[in-house]
Symmetry: C2
Subunit: 146 residues, 2 copies
Amino acid sequence: MTYANEVPADTVLASELRTTVMRLARRLRNQRTDDSLSLSQIATLGTLSRHGALTPSELAAHERVQPPSMTRLLAKLEEAGLVSRTDHPTDGRQVLVAVSDKGLAMIKADRRRRDAWLAQRMRDLPTEDVAVLHRASEILGRIAEG
Amino acid sequence: MTYANEVPADTVLASELRTTVMRLARRLRNQRTDDSLSLSQIATLGTLSRHGALTPSELAAHERVQPPSMTRLLAKLEEAGLVSRTDHPTDGRQVLVAVSDKGLAMIKADRRRRDAWLAQRMRDLPTEDVAVLHRASEILGRIAEG
DNA sequence: TATTGTTATACTCTATAACTATA
DNA sequence: TATAGTTATAGAGTATAACAATA
């Protein structure tokens, strides 16, 4: 028996859900393929693979990092052959950064590994729970976006 | 009416779910109250508030950090008046670290703010979706723990 | 003059290695 | 000797400030 006036139901669920999401995110984060790349570097590669070529400034804004930090980060990625720079077609100040094939392969390997860990755990679940997670994924996705 | 066959295979759902969880975690992380504390410091305070007083070594192991890093982190927290050290009752080598009232208040404020953000978003959801999230939270919690 | 990107420099966080005190 | 904790030092990542090139 619950008393809505005592504890707002939404707040309790929100609290539980936050704890759960953060804990699961930590587990997923630890499933990284390659310790040689930092989280920011992996995130940047991921952004490039989703958005296509972007300028360093756009990348910095997207990853919430200052431009000089992105400059250094990209230097590392370029040195590792994971991205390439090309001059902007019309604006001589700008540069376009794109993922290389090698970078793309690395992202995919990384994703595959994380997916595998989670997929294995879902195989142990009853079908009903999988269905719940499927619906929850959509709902949470909208929340995360909004 | 549901068709088990229509539900995407485990790997597809795992991939979607991972993306969603990571994105949501990022949003929740950005709801931090106090930028003056690092994520490790907040996590350490949280651990102390859940487990009670612990030694620096125990904390280092729990937070997956090396002992010297924990020494420095605790020095900052103590300087800010968020934790206190007391001598171990029987072993003169050990030290016990506990959260102060101020530390506890900070943790609670931090949690409240994150919960508020998520709770607000859940108030916009239909009751049915809230129920799904409630069930999903339990399932995901078990996955994260296991 | 404003914007894009880089270089110079400093700060934070974490690590390994070496040291001190206690068991 | 072994363990708990700290200090010394180094490396990675990111920040702000100053600079160069282009619009």
